[in-house]
Symmetry: C2
Subunit: 193 residues, 2 copies
DNA sequence: GACATTCTAAAACGTGCATTCTAATTGGCA
DNA sequence: TGCCAATTAGAATGCACGTTTTAGAATGTC
């Protein structure tokens, strides 16, 4: 190390999430990200080789944060708690939640995919999260793991709670207290096993 | 009318939906839309004043098609049937479904919103759909209409079924038969009233 | 205290796209 | 038949943005 950096990788990652969270993918221009950090655009390219790499790094960071909050509960065979854990996570990381849960990766990446190492990292994260789901379903079921069972679990633990949050994440503002109730009711009425 | 048009508004609208459905918003460039129709780019501007207007018109058309399939069932007080009606609609209009259900309007419009008349038309459509929801909830409940009741209904009839379809719409290919089952179960376990 | 290296800094470049422009065609109508 | 507005046709324009370049500043090491 020869010169101390004024800006960190994380500064740019956070700024990227913020730009997407507030204005969607089109608002995440390299200039806007740099401006938000207070850096010149060129500085981004010392850390990230391209815009695709910048967005990819932000995506991986948000995804890792999210799955870290849920995976342990899944592996412990507590699907209901995993589903409910999305709420405090989203309340604590509103920016990340809006970035990760409101935008399909396809909308961010399909013009230019992130470089291979980032894609590989994301694949590892996704696979690990998938494993957690399978482990959770396995603790409940008895025999073979059908595709339908896995789809059910993902819906109940992941997609449905997010569908409950989406309107409020979009509007901005606090997540309503009845979100908890709806998730609990959902799991009471439509159990995993 | 002095010269017969070779291309119709609908041609461009369908091409716009197709481009977004297949490649996301960034794939819906004016040139790509025109190329898909076989027309020069300039021809689009005889019918739509801007790209925002083009996307807005496509969005309104898809939204109208979708709500037309559901609203009557809602007004008839049949929430379960409304939720299940999403499936045949999506199977019959795969392109529209991918366009409408896989992309947040925010991602399409927030850099440049569509012109006022289109926004007004969309607002009317949304309001009418909202009314249908309220009517449906009212037939079930007894007293005042709480925000939570409306949120529950929208989740059960709209967001949850779409969450069930989303992974399959994304992947492409046919919607699985167990989607029906999951929606039915959801409504059995978590009734509207 | 000079050097190598990593960074900041800001301007410059090139490209792709939305939009506009100019010209050429078409076909109903007088 | 000849006129004319609507339309096709496709090239031209201008801008926004990703990326590169060039120059200078900072800092640990010898």
């Amino acid at each position: 190390m020869v010169r101390t950096a004024r800006f960190s990788e994380d500064d740019f990652i956070e700024a990227t999430m913020a730009q997407v969270a507030e204005g969607g993918p089109p608002a995440a221009t390299m200039q806007a990200i740099a401006r938000r950090v207070g850096a010149p655009t060129g500085s981004i390219y010392h850390r990230f080789e391209s815009r695709a790499a910048m967005l990819g790094a932000a995506w991986n960071a948000a995804y890792a944060s999210f799955t870290a909050a849920l995976a342990p509960l899944l592996r412990a065979g507590r699907p209901r708690d995993a589903a409910l854990a999305i709420l405090p996570w989203a309340r604590e990381h509103e920016r990340r939640a809006r970035f990760l849960l409101l935008h399909e990766p396809v909308a961010l990446f399909e013009d230019t995919p992130p470089p291979a190492p980032l894609r590989a990292e994301l694949e590892r994260l996704e696979e690990s999260f998938d494993d957690a789901f399978r482990a959770c379903v396995a603790t409940r079921g008895d025999g073979a793991l059908r595709e339908e069972d896995l789809a059910r679990a993902k819906f109940l633990i992941f997609d449905a709670p997010i569908a409950i949050l989406r309107p409020h994440l979009m509007r901005g503002g606090p997540l309503p207290p009845f979100a908890e109730r709806m998730i609990a009711e959902l799991h009471a009425g439509m159990p995993i096993g």
